[in-house]
């Protein structure tokens, strides 16, 4: 499925959105990420796969500095977003997170109405000048989150009252309401049933037109279905990073092959 159907955007897709160079992450004494170099391309879905505890979620959280909220976590090396070092002292992590949105493993809608959930980001960043604009932003985000039709009649209902799959799509809509450039997804489907998973995957594929999407997943089928690039992590190392098709049909590293054929995991 990799860009063959859409040759018009090939040039843009080769643009590098995030460049990570010699990234090390420590949790206290534990060396969780070792020397990771990776270039994440614009308007591409990049999947991080690997066995549990291999550091893929940790690395994902470095990309929007979510690890800053953990006291004992220390990040070394540099990560550039559009050529700008995000760990530079002058960069405000709060601003960065508005640009690099995140969707979590477990749907985590706030205990507020559906409308307020989506309007949360635009409100704190002052994206709307008046109620009308805010309404528009919310509707647009919910439409892009592929959940508008299900909730348009009950925007005042609490977000926590939705089903799991709906909650996750609401969280995705909430993340894209702030108009991020990159969307990080940490196992977004692990708490969802197959139907909801299919809906979210379809959504991810749509999002590729506008955003860089980085998705951490435990399901290799999912990585194969939604991503164009795949990175395989093992014990804190980035073992292999290539086009998804190559990783799954013709892995270069032995460990990658063992993992995708189910011998390690």
């Amino acid at each position: 499925m990799y860009d063959a159907s859409n040759p018009g955007v090939t040039l843009e897709q080769t643009d590098i959105k995030i460049a990570a160079n010699k990234v090390q992450v420590y949790y206290g004494e534990t060396h969780a990420i070792k020397d990771v170099n990776i270039d994440i391309q614009e308007k591409t879905v990049t999947a991080f796969i690997g066995p549990s505890g291999c550091g893929k979620s940790t690395f994902l959280r470095c990309l929007n500095r979510m690890n800053d909220t953990i006291d004992i976590c220390r990040v070394e090396g540099d990560i550039h977003l559009d050529g700008e070092d995000i760990y530079d002292k002058r960069v405000d992590p709060v601003q960065l997170r508005a640009k690099v949105g995140m969707v979590f493993q477990k749907p985590n809608p706030f205990p507020k109405s559906i409308y307020d959930n989506v309007a949360y980001g635009p409100r704190i960043h002052g994206l709307a000048r008046n109620k009308g604009e805010l309404d528009e932003i919310v509707e647009k985000a919910l439409r892009r989150g592929a959940i508008w039709d299900e909730v348009k009649d009950r925007l005042d209902a609490p977000g926590t009252g939705l089903s799991g799959g709906q909650q996750q799509r609401l969280c995705i809509a909430r993340a894209i309401a702030t108009e991020p450039e990159v969307l990080l997804m940490d196992e977004p489907c692990s708490a969802l049933d197959p139907i909801a998973t299919a809906q979210v995957e379809e959504l991810i594929d749509d999002l590729r037109a506008r955003y860089s999407v980085v998705i951490v997943t435990h399901s290799m089928q999912q990585a194969a279905r939604v991503s164009q690039k795949t990175a395989f992590f093992h014990l804190g190392n980035l073992v292999e990073y290539d086009d998804t098709a190559n990783i799954f049909t013709n892995p270069r590293d032995e460990r990658t092959e063992s993992y995708i054929t189910g011998r390690i995991g």
Partner: protein, 486 residues
């Protein structure tokens, strides 16, 4: 045999039963304990339980019922004519008990021997002087009938105590023998032990519940006595509180209720914002190191006795508020004021609010914070817009618990707010609360027969109802909150 000795003997019998029961269990399978249904000591335990529990329960019941029975027997000796003017049968019976125990002391001290006691005639001998010699002071001379009653009381009590000891020991031995006879390898001793543990747990929770019920009933009983003497309408709607021990009092609860609510309100005005901010700082901002120092330091506040807070109110806060606020503003010249008590009580309540709110805020799932930070919110935006709304029901619960604590507070109010029952809006004026008035109505030499003393129970019951409602409300809110995240 004294009660302590009886209990000791019963326990000793049961302990011996434990060891022989255990030994029998082991010998019944010829030493191969794997053939037993339960571990050997469980068999010992069943013997112990069968022996000790019934014997001790009977002893307890006996101890509770014996005085009732004896008094019932003895009070017949006292004729209506023996009761002096202004006295009552209850008071005479109190004398009887006192003389009876005085006689015990006299016999023990060797002043009287048994024969002398049986021949002693109160109309001839001065019993008061006799007992005075052994250190038992009586209020008046002893009437012959009263003395006879006391002698009878003493004799019956002694007989019954002996009987109780015998019954307890026999029951203990009987229980041990029965349990011993039942021991065989298939006997499910573990399950019996389990049942005993369960009963113990049920019993313990019953003690708590029954005590509450007992408190309510004693309050209800005395309150109904009060309302027989004083109209309920006046109690609830009269605007003055002016007890006169000569009669004709005004006993309206409203000034006291107003004082209580006013002081509590002021206390909460101070405690809630500070406590809440402390909780937010500790749970969201403070590093682990700061938290490990600050949290215990704040909780020390909760450990200070309220009387010490009272002193603080009396000598520091009261004069301070009077000199720098009340007098310059022309609002009063008293160092005891609602504000004094309220501020000090507020300080006392800070750890309640902060500690409970801290727990509630910590219980908000990390996913909520992640979600908010992930959208580019700052820490205070996250606290304000996500964490506080999510924790609000729990925080309200914490505040209500603090409020019921404030309403029940006495010492700080006595020393900080004074004792004048007043209906006023001026926070610099001395006022008083329900609890303070309960204390002042009951201190001193009082009998529970006039509305002026009995009103204390009506006040207590009103207070109990108010705090109970607050607690129920708090529990309801906290419970509702709990369901939200599970």
């Amino acid at each position: 045999m004294s009660v302590g000795l009886v209990i000791l003997v019963v326990v000793a019998i049961a302990t011996v039963g434990f060891f022989i029961g255990r030994a029998r269990a082991v010998s019944s399978v010829a030493g191969d304990v794997r053939q037993l249904h339960s571990l050997p000591s469980y068999y010992g335990q069943t013997v112990f339980l069968f022996s000790a529990v019934p014997a001790l329960l009977v002893t307890l019941a006996w101890l509770l019922l014996q005085p009732l029975y004896v008094e019932n027997q003895v009070s017949g000796i006292i004729l209506p004519g023996d009761i002096a003017e202004g006295s009552s049968l209850d008071l005479v019976m109190a004398d009887v008990r006192r003389i009876s125990s005085g006689l015990d002391t006299a016999v023990a001290a060797g002043v009287l021997d048994k024969n002398a006691l049986t021949q002693l005639d109160a109309s001839q001998t001065d019993v008061r002087a006799l007992l005075g010699d052994v250190g038992v002071a009586l209020a008046s001379d002893v009437h012959p009938n009263v003395f006879a009653a006391a002698r009878e009381y003493r004799a019956t009590t002694a007989t019954l105590k002996g009987a109780m000891a015998a019954v307890a020991v026999v029951l203990a031995v009987l229980g041990a023998v029965i349990a011993f006879a039942r021991i065989h390898p298939e006997y499910r001793a573990r399950n019996v032990s389990e049942l005993a543990i369960k009963s113990l747990l049920i019993l313990s929770s019953m003690v708590a519940i029954l005590t509450t019920v007992g408190i309510i009933f004693s309050l209800l009983f005395e309150t109904s006595n009060f309302f027989r003497m004083y109209p309920a309408r006046d109690f609830f709607f009269n605007l003055t509180w002016n007890p006169q021990f000569t009669g004709g009092s005004d006993l309206g609860i409203l000034p006291l209720l107003w004082g209580t609510l006013y002081v509590s309100f002021v206390a909460l005005i101070f405690a809630v914002p500070i406590g809440l901010l402390v909780a937010i700082y500790l749970s969201e901002y403070a590093s682990r190191k700061v938290r490990s120092i600050v949290k215990p330091a704040i909780e020390v506040l909760a450990g200070i006795p309220t009387i010490v807070y009272g002193l603080f109110a009396l000598i520091t806060i009261g004069p301070l508020l009077r000199d720098y606020f009340a007098q310059p503003l022309g609002l009063g010249a008293s160092s005891s004021s609602v504000l004094t008590a309220g501020v000090v009580m507020g300080i006392m309540l800070i750890p309640f609010v902060s500690s409970l709110s801290d727990d509630v805020i910590n219980a908000v799932p990390q996913a909520m914070r992640d979600g908010s930070y992930g959208l580019g919110a700052t820490q205070s935006e996250t606290v304000r817009q996500v964490i506080l709304p999510a924790a609000l029901p729990g925080i309200v619960g914490a505040i209500l618990l603090a409020a019921s604590r404030a309403i029940g507070e006495t010492m700080i109010v006595v020393m900080g707010a004074g004792a004048a029952a007043k209906l006023s809006l001026n926070p610099f004026e001395a006022m008083t609360t329900i609890t303070v008035k309960i204390v002042s109505q009951l201190t001193g030499d009082t009998e529970f027969a006039s509305p002026e003393t009995l009103v204390a129970f009506a006040l207590g019951l009103s207070l109990f109802v108010v705090t109970l409602c607050l607690n129920v409300l708090a529990l309801y809110i906290v419970r509702k909150y709990r369901e939200e995240y599970e």
